[in-house]
């Protein structure tokens, strides 16, 4: 069995697509919901909340797919992936908290961060931190 390490040659585009397909759906749904909410300010609060939170569902599906993928890895690679994802999630969480804290206190931030971090930027940030952590942790076990 070869280690199926993200970023390696064994990590085929097909595997990548299966794993990250739901992320694409999340991104599309976020764009659509953002557009719809901006053009329908008269909708009820409940409808607006449902629309705003709709990207959560494919996000949950993505987590489920990822958990299944990790379950199929060999034990060392599973440990590396769980550790590195945890680092990625904590990093993204800290960034979200920092941006929220700055927003709450009215400290001027670039326009992109003015409304906090939405789904995709937060996931992309977590992904970047994960890739770095994954490379560092993998090196530790070489």
């Amino acid at each position: 069995m070869e280690s199926v390490q993200p970023g390696s040659s064994q990590y085929s585009p097909q595997t990548s697509w299966k794993l990250h397909g739901w992320l694409v759906v999340t991104a599309l749904l976020e764009i659509v919901s953002d557009y719809v909410l901006r053009h329908n300010p008269g909708w009820s609060e409940l409808l607006r909340a449902g629309c705003a939170l709709s990207p959560l569902l494919p996000c949950v599906m993505w987590v489920r797919t990822w958990a299944r993928f990790v379950g199929g890895l060999d034990e060392l690679q599973r440990r590396i992936q769980i550790e590195s994802r945890l680092v990625g999630c904590i990093g993204a969480l800290l960034a979200i908290l920092a941006i929220n804290a700055l927003n709450m206190h009215g400290i001027a931030l670039p326009k992109f961060f003015a409304r906090g971090l939405s789904f995709m930027p937060a996931i992309i940030l977590a992904g970047i931190i994960w890739r770095i952590a994954s490379a560092v942790i993998n090196r530790r076990y070489q």
């Binding site: 069995m1 070869e2 280690s3 060999d74 034990e75 060392l76 690679q77 440990r79 076990y141 070489q142």
Partner: protein
């Protein structure tokens, strides 16, 4: 944790890849175990013991 995996493997003339295939893990896992950077799970340790026909405590020992 100290272990004799490398010694037992070389005695059988197996490469890390061969041992990895027999245990259904990656070569990286075998290398990490042999260099004592990673302690295997109990099921894997038992599998190693069974493969080399030795009790686990003869292969693995704690650093004391």
């Amino acid at each position: 944790m100290k272990n004799r995996v490398r010694e037992l493997r070389t005695a059988k003339n197996w490469s890390q890849g061969e041992l990895a295939d027999r245990l259904a893990v990656s070569r990286q896992t075998i290398n990490a175990i042999e260099t004592q950077k990673y302690d295997p799970s109990l099921p894997l340790a038992l599998k190693i013991g069974r493969l080399f026909k030795k009790p686990v405590e003869e292969i693995f020992e704690t650093d004391e």
